[in-house]
Symmetry: C2
Subunit: 422 residues, 2 copies
């Protein structure tokens, strides 16, 4: 019997210039008298943490501050955060300020200060124990400073488990932030390279959600088997379309003119909209490919990131295989691929549509925003294909959301075609 | 200084055939061991309460049942409900099963079993004391059985205060249901007249939200001054457009062929979408007019309702003045009125657009679904205009959401033009 039900959850939102100054009021409305502020060194250095702490303290909250979130959290970094939190917490509310890494670290801190056991107990099986929290978490307020990740809308904390050399997550509805505070001014200082990579992440969230397997094509689940990611559905479709429409009008401008407040505002909104979509539908092949592409990096260092180590930013790792992935998946639902191509390039005429319309629109966009020209440009060659394929195939949770079954041969073809994009 | 911030809140949703059978699981996931089921005699007689109670009891919850919600709640009916609830409660969760009346009664029960004081303490000033709850409410799960009201998405409990002969409400973010469970099968038995009136309510929710004063045109509020209804904004706009798109494809069919599951499903979804929109943007002139039109009814009895008293159903009271109201408000934003006319009648050509496009589309729709031909057909004449105008002008909370200032002369003109629609 096929599925008849879909679910939808989202944080409450406060959006707009100055929203961050109201955090103290928002926290006290939740009944909070104490708060942990969770951030990372870069965000702290940019001066964004101090006003958040002041807004909370002005409203009478006792505040502890953690600014050591690791960019791309690992089990080790989350265990350090947990040790700090169990020493200083618990708190009535947790406020995450930063990109996906800070928000995900805050989710882990929330879980580990309200529930017993060790971090690995809660990590998805088979990597971890796959346990569910047994006690309620406290409200988490997410203040994203990097447009893109959508972590403010989702139920997952992504981490690298170092010993097993695998990226996985902790996933539970209780991890979803209670509230997201989106102040587009916080992203004005974001470098062009970061805007480009995180913008492609937003776009792929929307495109993958919209082309995901429809919820009605899954087998009927029991109530206790439902997961937050339930496939494409009328609500995630709406958010995804609107996110792409917003990006089409703002993305190139936001990269080229970072101080364009209107473009920044539209990008911040698009990030949230796409998060509301994929946070309920799910993502698939490009995101599955991103795990080994980011994980096996050798010496690539992207513009705009001052990381002290080689990295392929998440949004870049996702987007580089997106043209080939959407060409592969086109036959599953040509109409949806056409719709997205037309939203992304509003001038598209009907005669331009077809299998290559969306992939070519993505290639033109990536070239315009200064992306590297394919996997080869970030350090991979055909000699890496076997290991990359292996890494992608481990992401069965994501691949299950693809509209058709994905084989090793499919993945290899997509990766091979992604070595050079134009 | 003008407003830069908007807010957005919504219940979590579970949508689809069979959703209601999972209520026990959903309640226990919220940590509940006891529940009140709140409904009304009509819904109970239709056999919809029993399976809800069984679903909860099967999951081990202790359940108390209240099926005496009054259609169109009054202070007296809510005080009776409160007396019952304070005798039998409190509970860990409250499950409302029915139309807006049952859901609003459940909101009052939730408030009055978790907070001290009397009902009138919490009713909007100046009718009541305008107090805010000081203690947290328990989660409310709304199971709408009548498409339309959107109460499952909103923060308000509407009631008639009998002694003052005025319709008002209790409004606070804490009243918003935590979860809405939308099972379109529950609406299959809804009579055509009820589908017609509640469908027009849905449509007016979407049209009024979309044409509401934009949030950026209000004065800048302090954090503690924010209200759930913040004017038209990018998120409410999106829900409103999508609700109208869904209605355009399903409304006439759902009225004419009540057992058309696809049309019923689309209507149930449209009701929810419109609720997500107006629950954050607000409604204005047609809804303000509806209060005196419903409140001053003499002897009109609508098809499809087996009420034991004269009534103008809420959706009908709203919609009868909508054509004239939108003609009045057209100059504030012609483009938005054109967009809505084109969504409602997808064949609309550009040459058909203009001030009368949306009003005429509404007239055609109301005639097709068997609506009475204007205020005269539900018992009003020009002799009633002065009192009707007075009743509308009392709804300043709603009129403040209109895109322009509304004068008594405006209201009189709209009401006069609404006496006969075609």
């Amino acid at each position: 019997m096929s599925e008849t039900i879909f679910t939808y959850g989202s944080p409450h939102l406060k959006y707009g210039t100055g929203a961050v100054t109201e955090l103290g009021h928002d926290a006290t409305t939740l009944g909070a008298r104490s708060a942990a502020v969770v951030s990372d060194p870069g965000v702290a250095a940019a001066g964004i943490v101090t006003p958040v702490v002041e807004a909370l303290e002005t409203s009478g909250l006792r505040v502890d501050v953690f600014t050591d979130s690791h960019v791309e959290p690992t089990d080790a970094s989350l265990e350090e955060a947990t040790a700090w939190a169990r020493q200083h917490g618990p708190w009535d509310v947790i406020v995450a300020v930063g990109g996906g890494s800070s928000i995900d670290t805050a989710k882990a801190i929330n879980l580990m200060t309200t529930n017993d056991g060790e971090l690995m107990d809660y990590v998805n099986a088979p990597v971890g124990g796959g346990a569910n929290p047994t006690k309620p978490l406290v409200p988490l307020i997410a203040v994203p400073t990097t447009t893109g990740t959508g972590s403010e809308s989702t139920t997952i904390c992504v981490l690298d488990v170092l010993e097993q050399n695998v990226k996985t997550g902790i996933s539970h509805p209780a991890l979803r932030p209670r509230m997201a505070v989106i102040d587009p001014d916080l992203t004005i200082s974001q470098p062009a390279g970061v805007t480009a990579a995180s913008g492609m992440d937003i776009l792929c969230h929307a495109l993958e959600s919209y082309t995901a397997k429809p919820y009605t094509e899954f087998a009927r689940k029991k109530a206790e088997e439902r997961v937050p990611y339930c496939g494409a559905n009328p609500i995630s479709d709406m958010w995804s379309r609107e996110a792409v429409r917003l990006l089409a009008g703002s993305f190139r401008t936001a990269v080229q003119s970072g101080h364009d407040a209107e473009a920044r505002g539209a990008m911040a909104l698009a990030a949230t909209f796409a998060g509301m979509g994929f946070g309920n539908a799910g993502v698939h092949l490009p995101h599955a490919n991103a795990y080994p592409i980011a994980g096996m990096v050798r010496d690539f260092r992207p513009d705009g990131y001052d990381a002290d180590h080689a990295m392929v930013p998440h949004g870049m790792a996702v987007a580089l295989t997106a043209p080939a992935a959407f060409a592969l998946l086109y036959p599953a639902n040509p109409e949806r691929h056409h719709e997205m191509a037309a939203l992304l390039e509003p001038g598209t005429s009907v005669s331009d549509l077809g299998r290559d319309a969306l992939p070519n629109a993505l290639r033109r966009l990536m070239r315009d925003i200064g992306f590297p020209n394919g996997l080869a440009a970030v350090g991979y060659s055909d000699a890496d294909l076997a290991r990359l394929v292996e890494g992608t195939m481990k992401q069965q949770r994501l691949l299950a959301t693809a509209p058709v079954e994905i084989t090793e041969a499919d993945v290899e073809r997509v990766l091979r075609e992604s070595m050079t994009l134009w």
